[in-house]
Symmetry: C3
Subunit: 321 residues, 3 copies
């Protein structure tokens, strides 16, 4: 089974052009400043911080169904390359966002190295609008539509040349959503039409977080033999806890439910790549920022083995007088 320490790669993706609010690009910095790397090393992991990706800036990037297509297309490609490389280096790959558009890259890159991956999307939003159904034009609300085979024909690829590099790499049945509570009509249609495994907050209230995450994994990873990609949007958690985020929605997961998901996924031993996105330290109060960054770091460390019940140090001996 899982040896205690893992080889972990941290990739910073300080990207904000998938939405309109400045500050989300500070995510990688504030999570590192909160001691993320040290806390992961304290767990016995061999952590390599591969630093922050540099993204191309486009002066002329006119909207075409979606905003900033060039910026997002180019950034996602870079992220994809970086994540693919890290996974091929046998690293548990943690990508720090940045807005959720970066997951076009993290999932695509991960899938090149692990085509059999399954995806846990933990988020208040489904982010599966197509460029034609999005109401806001923000690509952070559309990443999954670029990635799933079943929506290939619904994407205006001809108008989105900055995404030419991208091949859909995911079956819609390989996705499980947890935490949903704010969907656009097109997203509800897509979830229903393709019978996607999805647990909104209604189901978390109804069945409890254990049942929900267990059913999610049963649905997308029944034999427990597929690598897991978890894309954790900090706005899945309630804004009273994680208010420093671009699109907060009331009635979210509790801090404890976020930690439970992380601990449960860690215990599978199958976590292969992990995104922590949408932390925006420039939104909300100082308290919101502190709680949001703390929660992000706690969830990440729990995904990598930190247990609330306490971690047994291998080979620990009780000191005697």
């Amino acid at each position: 089974s899982r040896s205690y320490g893992r080889d972990v790669a941290i990739i910073g993706a300080p990207f904000k052009k998938g939405q309109r609010l400045a500050g989300v690009e500070q995510g990688p910095r504030v999570m590192r400043e909160a001691g993320l790397i040290e806390k992961l090393r304290d767990l016995g992991h061999n952590v390599e911080d591969r630093g922050d990706l540099k993204f191309e800036v486009f002066k002329d990037d006119p909207k075409n169904y979606v905003l900033n297509p060039k910026a997002v297309g180019s950034a996602a490609k870079k992220v994809s390359k970086a994540v693919e490389q890290a996974v091929r280096d046998n690293k548990l790959t943690v990508t720090l966002g940045g807005d959720h558009s970066i997951s076009i890259g993290t999932i695509h890159g991960h899938a090149q190295a692990e085509p059999n991956l399954c995806l846990l999307w933990i988020d208040a939003h489904a982010d599966i609008n197509t460029p034609l159904t999005t109401l806001s034009g923000n690509i952070h609300g559309t990443p999954l539509s670029f990635l799933v085979n079943q929506l290939k024909d619904a994407i205006p690829w001809a108008a989105l040349t900055p995404f030419d590099w991208l091949q859909p790499c995911l079956n819609i049945t390989d996705i499980a959503f947890v935490g949903l509570r704010d969907l656009d009509p097109g997203e509800r249609y897509i979830l229903q039409k393709f019978n996607i495994t999805s647990f909104s907050i209604h189901e978390v209230d109804r069945y409890g977080i254990h049942e929900v995450i267990a059913r999610s994994l049963d649905a997308v990873n029944p034999k427990g033999d597929r690598p897991i990609h978890m894309s954790f949007d900090i706005d899945s958690v309630d804004p009273a806890v994680t208010g420093a985020t671009g699109t907060p929605v009331p009635g979210g997961l509790t801090f404890r439910e976020g930690m439970f998901i992380a601990e449960h996924v860690y215990r599978t031993g199958l976590l292969s790549a992990l995104d922590l996105v949408e932390v925006n330290p420039e939104v909300g109060s100082r308290q919101d920022k502190a709680n949001t960054v703390m929660t992000a770091v706690e969830v990440l460390t729990a995904c990598l083995g930190k247990k609330r019940e306490g971690n047994l140090q291998p080979g620990y001996e009780l000191p005697m007088p």
Copy 2:
């Protein structure tokens, strides 16, 4: 089954004399200003806003077991007439409070048109003191005692002539309480003596909100064939979420549990009349006011079909390039 859009009537009951705090009469205004009518129309409902009722002012209204008997008796009569008319017009009737004394009127009026109704009372308080057991003298703590047949003899009707128009119209077994956590001795006695279906927060902790609301409906509406009156006091929800209310009590329902109750009741298709009471924008901080009004509006829209999992637009077609 339920056709998508419903005929809905909104009745404003800006009344405060059932208790002592000014501001609760602003409830109808602040809920409308928060976009309640538009949000209900967005759900496909045919919403008729019947405006605010005007209540008689009494210079001389001396306490007689209870405070402001003339004001409350006259207001409740007006509310009753308005609700009865709206229900007879086949409208799902939503009454915006105002303090909980208005429910003497809403339930009485509803019962004239739907004598077979059952009642869900969602509240930190049971509000079933009689004029002789009330400790505060505030009629918003006694509305149910005026309405239930089993307490007919416990009401000093002779001293309460402003309520002469009122005939008890409810069997105590047709009531289910959810969210209780602050009862006076007389109320505990009454609940126990008549074996009333009641789930305090202890039971919500014990069984979970799904089990509690399912059992409540099983108890008062076993065959699912009775119209439902839901009287939702915003102080049922925890004051950390809905602090802008006259008698906040710690340890209340979470925002999610409030939404779960609303979604569950909507799905029965039997909701016939609904009160949303005790929102007082002049209590607590600006943040309390904003969260309380937001929660009230979210609960109301969920009672009328808004789903956290997202609403499927009838006849929606996925736009293709």
Copy 3:
């Protein structure tokens, strides 16, 4: 079964030397000022407030594995004597902390009079470090190691002469922990090695608070025939509710879960002694102080029979007109 009123003794233990923060010694005062004694008398109990213990001050108290050994050893002895006396006086003995080091005394004293007691330790921390495993040197993180037979040989008694009076008096299998979420490596080792009944917040998320407290009692009090000592550290509850405490840890019990534990333990009729510790009114905001003290008093009154569903007054008669 339990007659309604009980003989209750309140002992104030305004002690802070088991940790480094001033203010925790104000716990007894602020809980009394919040009306604790009156609220317990309202429940029909015969409450004797035995006032605050006076603790010896040591100018020269050098660290020896742990901080303030003389001060803590002497204070714990005094607390032990006071609690033993009160239990022998057939009083349900409530000790108001002060930091959690006082529980060396409360449990030792209680055990002299009730050797067959079982212990519920409700806390974010296990407080079972030995003087050799403690990282902070604060004795409030080590009280249980002084008390359990299985760790007798792990304590450097020779270096801790201020504890000469103390005989371990508890089997480690007689302890159940609830609420854990911040353990040191030595504590995780001890819990695991001796297979101690312990429910971290992970298990509360997993099973729910009812299942957790029921299993705790089943484990340490299967036949329901042993007196219960409950040591309730206010930091078991989430810092968003009880922030006025020395070592807050995110993701704690909710207010409702704290109340549920108290109500459940009361219903056993076996509660014999109760500690409420770590309330520090000088930590956090004014709001933190108010909520923390309120929660402490609400938990204490629930431990002594106050019910959220309302208390039936024995012999109550419904007044009729």
